[in-house]
């Protein structure tokens, strides 16, 4: 049973906000009149709030920089199969650059695949349309991410509040977003991330059309998941199954849209050819083990001199 003093501590905030019920209020004030320590503590409580409220508001010291292009909403783009619009357009206009970009990507993948002494990588492996090599000798042999592919674009579900964003200063409207609903995951359970490279396409707008959104093109970046840290077994090997991989999926987690957006119907319908990816967190990883999820778009993908874009989230086993 709690002491009276303790109990009144719990009521301080409600009393300050005038949220006590009449019975609580009568009891609270009766106690305050008879208990000097509680009265003093409550006065101190009120004074501290007052002091905090009196701290002058600060002002943003510089202008917030926004992309020069109008804000645009992302709507599903036409599903594409095979080479993406990025690759097709680039191959037509800048074949050498496109090939160079592909070469950089292959080198990057090779470095990740063969260089990680203390890590194992699972690379993008779509469930519906597997690309690239099969996984036959462990996750480190997975090399399916050899190109940036067009997808049915969609906005991140509202519940995916953990984000990393990468943009090209020369093309601020083009952005790479990597998002997840949480940064903590459970070993052996499924995890979902959102990864999309998108760019508005004002040239596709229909004059006079009544639309709340402007079209955009979307592509799935190369996404890898790296297990690092302390999650090794007794042999010093990481306890990662050989079929560790990630795949496109069709729906966010069940509780997505926990806020009011669910009722408004604004959660975009995300198909299997969309930006959501799922993977099963390897079982047996120790709490605190970190999984680095990295979305990458190689240099030269979106323009002749475009830089590489990388977005990264670190998920932690709890």
């Amino acid at each position: 049973m709690s002491s009276p003093r303790r109990h009144l501590d719990d009521l301080f905030s409600a009393a300050y906000e005038d949220e006590l019920t009449p019975i609580e209020e009568a009891r609270f004030h009766a106690h305050m009149q008879s208990c000097e320590p509680c009265a003093a503590a409550y006065a101190e409580f009120r004074a501290s709030i007052q002091a905090l409220r009196e701290v002058p508001k600060a002002r943003m010291p510089h202008v917030v920089h926004l992309p020069s292009t109008p804000p645009v909403a992302e709507i599903p783009a036409r599903p594409r199969i095979g080479l993406s619009w990025f690759n097709l357009g680039l191959l037509r206009r800048f074949p050498a650059t496109a090939l160079a970009g592909a070469f950089v990507l292959v080198i990057a993948i090779a470095a990740v695949v063969h260089g990680g002494g203390g890590s194992v990588n699972g690379t993008l492996q779509p469930a519906t349309a597997p690309r690239g090599a099969a996984q036959h000798a462990g996750a480190s042999t997975t090399s399916s991410c050899t190109s940036i592919v067009g997808i049915t674009g969609a906005s991140p579900p509202a519940s995916f509040s953990q984000e990393d964003l990468a943009t090209d200063p020369a093309q601020p409207a083009l952005h790479l977003v990597l998002a997840a609903p949480t940064l903590t995951v459970t070993s052996g359970k499924q995890a979902i991330v959102y990864a999309q490279l998108s760019e508005p396409v004002t040239s596709l707008s229909i004059p006079g059309a009544v639309s709340a959104t402007a079209p955009s093109r979307a592509a799935l970046p190369c996404v890898s998941v790296t297990v690092a840290g302390t999650g090794s077994n007794s042999n010093g090997q990481l306890a990662v199954p050989p079929d560790f991989s990630i795949a496109q999926t069709s729906a966010p987690e069940p509780q997505a849209g926990g806020t009011s957006e669910g009722a408004s119907g604004s959660v975009p319908a995300i198909g299997t050819n969309g930006p959501l990816l799922s993977f099963t967190v390897p079982a047996g990883l120790a709490p605190g083990t970190e999984l680095r999820v990295i979305a990458t778009v190689p240099a030269g993908t979106t323009g002749p001199n475009s830089p590489a874009l990388t977005a990264e989230l670190t998920l932690t086993i709890h």
Binding site: A47, L52, V55, P56, L66, P71, A73
Partner: protein, 191 residues
């Protein structure tokens, strides 16, 4: 024009409407981030990042309270900064004693600024001594004056949790401020 109307115009490609949202909320977001992080440069980065994310995510803001959503993003960004940042030893906006040089508020005269400096410093240090979760809740309520509903949305916790966490945070803050310049008289009265 309220936030919802501005947001609707922004969805239709009106950049000025979005800029109006920025103008309306940037200072309160900056104030929140500054009280949570204690570093003006980091706080400004958080605000910049928050609006950049909002610019990208306009479609999913439909039906949401944009103010609460902006605070939620700003809190997440602040936590990201807290996770990856070791306090810099020589921030250019700190004085020789490590005190943050508050940006002058034109609304305050020089005398008022001097008089409040010690109180501000005491409150700032007391806030930074709190656990980040408690710091966030007390800042949202007592600095930014968010409603419980907005706090619940921004912190993604039930209102009951908001209230209980707020009570604990305020109690800890009161103890941290005991006897400081922000609680004049208490040291003498209650020693």
């Amino acid at each position: 024009m309220d936030d919802e109307a501005l947001l609707e115009r922004a969805r239709r490609g009106d950049r000025d409407a979005f800029a109006a949202i920025v103008t309306r909320h940037q200072d309160e977001l900056y104030t929140m981030a500054l009280r949570i992080l204690g570093t003006p440069a980091d706080a400004a980065d958080v605000v910049q990042e928050t609006f950049l994310r909002a610019y990208v995510r306009i479609p999913v803001l439909r039906g949401q309270t944009i103010r609460a959503w902006l605070f939620r993003v700003a809190i997440n960004c602040s936590h990201d900064v807290q996770r990856r940042t070791v306090r810099r030893p020589a921030d250019p906006l700190e004085d020789a004693e490590g005190n943050i040089v508050e940006l002058p508020d034109p609304a305050l005269g020089p005398e008022a600024t001097v008089l409040s400096r010690e109180r501000v410093a005491a409150v700032r240090e007391a806030l930074l001594a709190l656990h980040p979760d408690f710091r966030a809740v007390v800042v949202l309520r007592d600095v930014n004056e968010l409603s419980y509903e907005e706090m619940s949305e921004a912190l993604r916790v039930p209102i009951g949790t908001v209230k209980s966490r707020l009570n604990r945070a305020r109690t800890m803050l009161a103890k941290a401020l005991r006897g400081t310049a922000a609680a004049p008289g208490f040291a003498e009265e209650h020693a």
